[in-house]
């Protein structure tokens, strides 16, 4: 009969320090959680974006007002974060479409495409930011 004292002690992996410092999310996991976070951010930004589109098309004054508004530092930073969210969601989404087709499923390729997604979204964000302001 099994004795409780003979059981091997369970590892305490889910302590807070373990979660913070010992268990590392693998790279494709980072792409995944960022895909979810960026998607949430984009949803929350829909109303704001639509408001800006509405004003920019409504009148020339509105267009200039939106342009001035987009030049304010906090607005500019928020828009840059949203542009990054869009780019990340875009590239990571394309990666998932290929994974659905069983392309790039092996670990070395999955890691490589994860790096590619992170790099491409940051690069495109920087380029669009430079282009816009």
């Amino acid at each position: 009969m099994a004795n409780a004292t003979t059981r091997r002690p369970r590892p305490k992996y889910l302590s807070l320090p373990a979660l913070l410092f010992e268990i590392r999310l693998p790279l494709p996991g980072w792409v995944s959680i960022l895909h979810r976070i960026s998607g949430l951010m984009l949803f929350l930004a829909i109303v704001w974006m639509l408001y800006l589109l509405d004003r920019s098309l409504a009148s020339e004054d509105g267009f200039e007002a939106v342009r001035r508004y987009a030049g304010l530092l906090p607005v500019k930073l928020s828009l840059l974060v949203l542009i990054w969210a869009f780019c990340h969601h875009f590239f990571a989404g394309i990666r998932y479409l290929f994974l659905d087709l069983d392309k790039g499923v092996d670990l070395p390729t999955a890691r490589l495409t994860s790096w590619a997604v992170l790099a491409a979204s940051l690069a495109l964000t920087a380029w669009l930011g430079a282009k816009l302001w």
């Binding site: 949803f43 639509l50 509405d54 920019s56 098309l57 409504a58």
Partner: protein, 114 residues
């Protein structure tokens, strides 16, 4: 691999598929609009309104908005199912998401055909 039908009972496959089809539609729209804007002249009010005055742009933007509505619904529902456990709170949040989506879709039509 299990063969499943796309229509019929709610296996979740329809939403899974819709998520991907709407994603492709939005990706194509994004690339087209980006190319149009990047290659064009500096964006003034006239250029901006001319772009949205064209029929193809209005229809394409409407397709984008409709795709976004469906895509965002599936995505937000996934997030709510994963993190919000009390059924009442989750239902309330799902209704809120649907109201926002329906409202913004109507607003988009209003903006495009003003």
């Amino acid at each position: 691999m299990v063969e499943r039908v796309v229509t019929g009972a709610h296996y979740g496959l329809r939403d899974w598929l819709a998520q991907r089809i709407t994603a492709v539609i939005m990706a194509v729209y994004t690339v087209i609009v980006l190319v149009v804007l990047i290659n064009g002249v500096p964006i003034s009010y006239a250029v901006w309104t001319d772009l949205f005055a064209q029929g193809w742009m209005r229809v394409a933007t409407l397709l984008f908005a409709a795709s976004l509505a469906w895509h965002a619904w599936v995505g937000m529902r996934d997030i709510l199912m994963d993190y919000v456990k009390p059924a009442g709170v989750r239902l309330a949040l799902e209704v809120a998401v649907l109201l926002v989506i329906a409202g913004t879709l109507g607003w988009t039509v209003q903006i495009l055909w003003r």
